[in-house]
Symmetry: C2
Subunit: 325 residues, 2 copies
Amino acid sequence: MQSVSALKNLFDDFVESQKFRDEPKGLFEPMNYILELGGKRLRPVIALMSYNIFSDEVEKALPMAFSLELFHNFTLAHDDIMDYADLRRGKPTMHIRYSINTGILSGDAMMMYAFHYLNLSSEDDQVQRKLNSLFTKTAIEVCVGQQMDMDFETLDQVELEKYLQMIKYKTAVLLAGCFQTGAILGKATDTDAEALYAFGINLGLAFQIQDDLLDLYSDERFGKIRGGDILQSKKTYLYLTALQQADQATRDKLLVLYKTKTLTDHQKVEQVESIFNQLNVRELAEKAVTEYTDASFIQLDSLSVERKRLEIIRSLAEELIQRKY
Amino acid sequence: MQSVSALKNLFDDFVESQKFRDEPKGLFEPMNYILELGGKRLRPVIALMSYNIFSDEVEKALPMAFSLELFHNFTLAHDDIMDYADLRRGKPTMHIRYSINTGILSGDAMMMYAFHYLNLSSEDDQVQRKLNSLFTKTAIEVCVGQQMDMDFETLDQVELEKYLQMIKYKTAVLLAGCFQTGAILGKATDTDAEALYAFGINLGLAFQIQDDLLDLYSDERFGKIRGGDILQSKKTYLYLTALQQADQATRDKLLVLYKTKTLTDHQKVEQVESIFNQLNVRELAEKAVTEYTDASFIQLDSLSVERKRLEIIRSLAEELIQRKY
């Protein structure tokens, strides 16, 4: 079993070795640019960890892991255009650094290369077919998630259930897909591979709700503004829970308050938080995180493998979820 | 053997039966919109014809054919954004009808569905692997072609060789890929499948040069303006041949003339045409069409199948190339 940092180093070296050097430069250079923004490389590391539960030859899983990272970066390139995002990890996004056309086309090319590396994942034709099928299903769902997210922006109110569906598609299915892809390539049983997928879905949901909580209730701000989601009128798990819990009068008040432009930032955050507190929003969200986390660990415990082979995944999951606030 | 129109009808019915009806509508409706703009559906019909050389069960090839049509429409959706195109077949392009974000995301989703249908093409794992590998290679090359095309717009002069490479990637590889995909799915020998690919490349190049010729020398205008490419200062085979053939003085004159804004449309076309005529551009382009056409038919004749099974493809190719002007 390899440690998270060993897997990440292995993966970083592989990405470096696969640097896109072909012509035309206008197509390939931006792909290197966004890949070099780097980040945690959570998705490929997850896929390698999951593979490593079932097989020790981690090097063989690198093209598959790279495929997932390329896919993730393709979604970043296109989402940043659609969301009018200028910065990513403190650097200009692809379409700002180059152009919108580049964001579109080099994004597309990353998607094609994601399939290219996926196709190189396994010499076993049946395994390969399973990987392709899962990958395609996941890719479609991620598009659905992005569309739902964009649709929600124009709505005042969104049912909590719909919000959960959106974050499932936009975030959780890809994490889950990484776990399952690693398992399939490692020749896990179908039952184990599906349990890891379910683990990933629940973990992804817990993670996203936790993220919404941290925006308001964390002391460690990582350079972010407290209540940034409130200031941007984002429809978070907290806000949608509050709307669901509130009586008519409070709901109307919150709806108006959330869109107001007449308060200072500090006033707006304070007043929204005060409504959240009345409605026990924090506790309800924490309960949801716990439930999804518990559900995910039940799936992990169901795997038909030695417990010690799961330790790294368990630690990573705990690290992802139990961030202090 | 089925006729072109029988294959097209079969395909049209399949597309209708696969209409995207899922939620969210904002993602799927635009996909139906662009698919319903219809057109000749040349690429899926080519793939079905090619399949039909080797197998009579054409119905089995429909998901593969749909995959190719989805891919083609994905490229149209994104290219129309990148090329600032407002109309396609007389109707608003996807991003004009909806929004740029829709053009990007529904385009992406069409690409994912292209892979989805591709994955359903064959029950034979080895055949499926070959299809996926060819599809991915082709998709990457089409991106390269689009990038080259965009790069050329900012250049005064492009070598003829580079232009041929661009149209090969932007147009010919997909036509060739359709021929080869049909052949692989129909379980042709590798030699036959590759010959059909080479046939498609040469046919595609002949077709594109012919298209450049028709813009200036055809009497049938199909509603287009004579010399439209010249008026748009497009770098066509004719223009780049002229630059290649010209002495320094004529080249300088043509370079200035091609970008001029001081002449009437009629004057500009007349004066450019007069230089083309001095330099035998028409004859040289016609010679290139003939050479690529001949090269394509040599590939077709090399196939290890009964001649009569090739008649439809031969007619279609002749129809594509030998348009009167």
